[in-house]
Symmetry: C2
Subunit: 224 residues, 2 copies
DNA sequence: GTTCTAAATGAATGACGTTCATTTACTAGA
DNA sequence: TCTAGTAAATGAACGTCATTCATTTAGAAC
């Protein structure tokens, strides 16, 4: 992971404008947006706040960006770059999948608003995401998987990861039945027993689920 | 599934107003909202469109609703009611989980914008959701599961289901690498092989993943 | 008939994201 | 050195939202 600035479209060269100290470009905007998000969450990421943080007027951003969505995509690429997919080159498939999934979920738990976007976004716009897929696919191939089973396995894992990342942002007491108690003995019993373990239910669920899905996938995999 | 009107707070009785034909109430608003969504998707669900569909001014809605979010929660309850969780009373656990998960995903694939909401919403506000959890928990209990493992298993399954529902809304060609071809032989090979099967990759992934996670959970389950 | 009150009104507000005509100031070519 | 040409920034709009609020309306209760 961790690439250079990597602007797929050549960065605009200093040309003109006002007595500006710097000229906006993709990298600058994306970094500023990420900083804003890091400081105050996604609700503080507005075009005017972003512009202000760059000492520029909101409309100036539109010389470099088509829409706010595009900025979200830039952020997504940077964030995705934090996912460690080198593990597929060093670990056996099952361990690599587990390690990869853990970092993947942890990172996107802090960027939940990106998830509905990513799930629907063509990968063609994100070279780094493609690189990640390549490394994962290589891991499956090396383990002898049938080619046609690889994409579904990756997508299934990602679905679980994204769902778990969303879940990780839920409040701790999300399952508290409140006043609606009485008719739900099995659920309440399970809830109490889970509570007694002292574990975060989201974490317990993610790890149990991850083990299950990885084992399950490997158990049913047909090799070439 | 399928309950009566079920307004937890008593419905406001006809009291006064204008020469209105009907008085707004929770059920009426929720149904109108759902109808709007069914007709034009979530982007068409605005407070003024909703008000117009009820022949009322937007501000009138706020006599019955705290916020648009609350309307979304009402919709969520109705939608959740469509998930069939009676299967746990008739089928063995593994089959019941599969059947339940399939309807769960299919239904929420048509209501993706609800997912980020649900994942974070306290269940205390939704009696029907609690009822569903009770049925699922009962299924696990009946199969002899350790109580403390039940909640994590349910949460893991739900995470996978929600992630898959989001994924189901993605465009068919989401994985098309576009111009970024060349350095990704393993991924492209896997993609081509998957394409050749003629299956929707989202569907293939969901079914493969579901089988894997259910088998994996049952394989590692410790019973009482 | 007077009072009480739930409900509806419509005008106004304040965030947003986004557009556009206009201006600014650097660069390249004559 | 002068002159276009042009990337970039400006600020004043817009349109679309959700939401608020003072005011009005008209049944119900006594």
């Amino acid at each position: 992971m961790n690439h250079e600035p990597a602007s797929s479209t050549a960065a605009p060269r200093r040309r003109a404008g006002r007595p500006r100290s710097v000229v906006l470009d993709r990298e600058l905007i994306a970094r500023a947006a990420l900083k804003l998000v890091a400081a105050g969450g996604y609700s503080t990421l507005t075009m005017s706040a972003l512009a202000k943080s760059l000492s520029v007027s909101p409309s100036a951003l539109y010389n470099h960006v088509e829409s706010k969505q595009e900025i979200m995509q830039w952020i997504q690429e940077i964030v995705m770059d934090g996912v460690d997919s080198t593990v597929f080159e060093t670990l056996p498939l099952d361990e690599a999948l587990m390690a990869w999934a853990v970092t993947y979920r942890d990172i996107f738990a802090g960027h939940a608003p990106l998830i509905p976007l990513i799930a629907v976004l063509p990968v063609s716009g994100s070279p780094r995401t493609l690189e990640m897929y390549e490394k994962v696919a290589a891991g499956f191939t090396r383990a002898g998987w049938k080619q046609e089973d690889i994409i579904p396995a990756i997508v299934a894992l990602e679905s679980f990861i994204f769902g778990s990342a969303l879940d990780a942002t839920a409040p701790l007491d999300i399952f508290d039945p409140g006043e609606n108690t009485g008719n739900i003995p099995n659920f309440e019993g399970a809830l109490e027993a889970q509570r007694a373990t002292g574990r975060h239910s989201a974490d317990a669920a993610f790890h149990a689920g991850l083990r299950a899905i990885v084992n399950g996938l490997l158990a049913t995999s047909r090799t070439t």
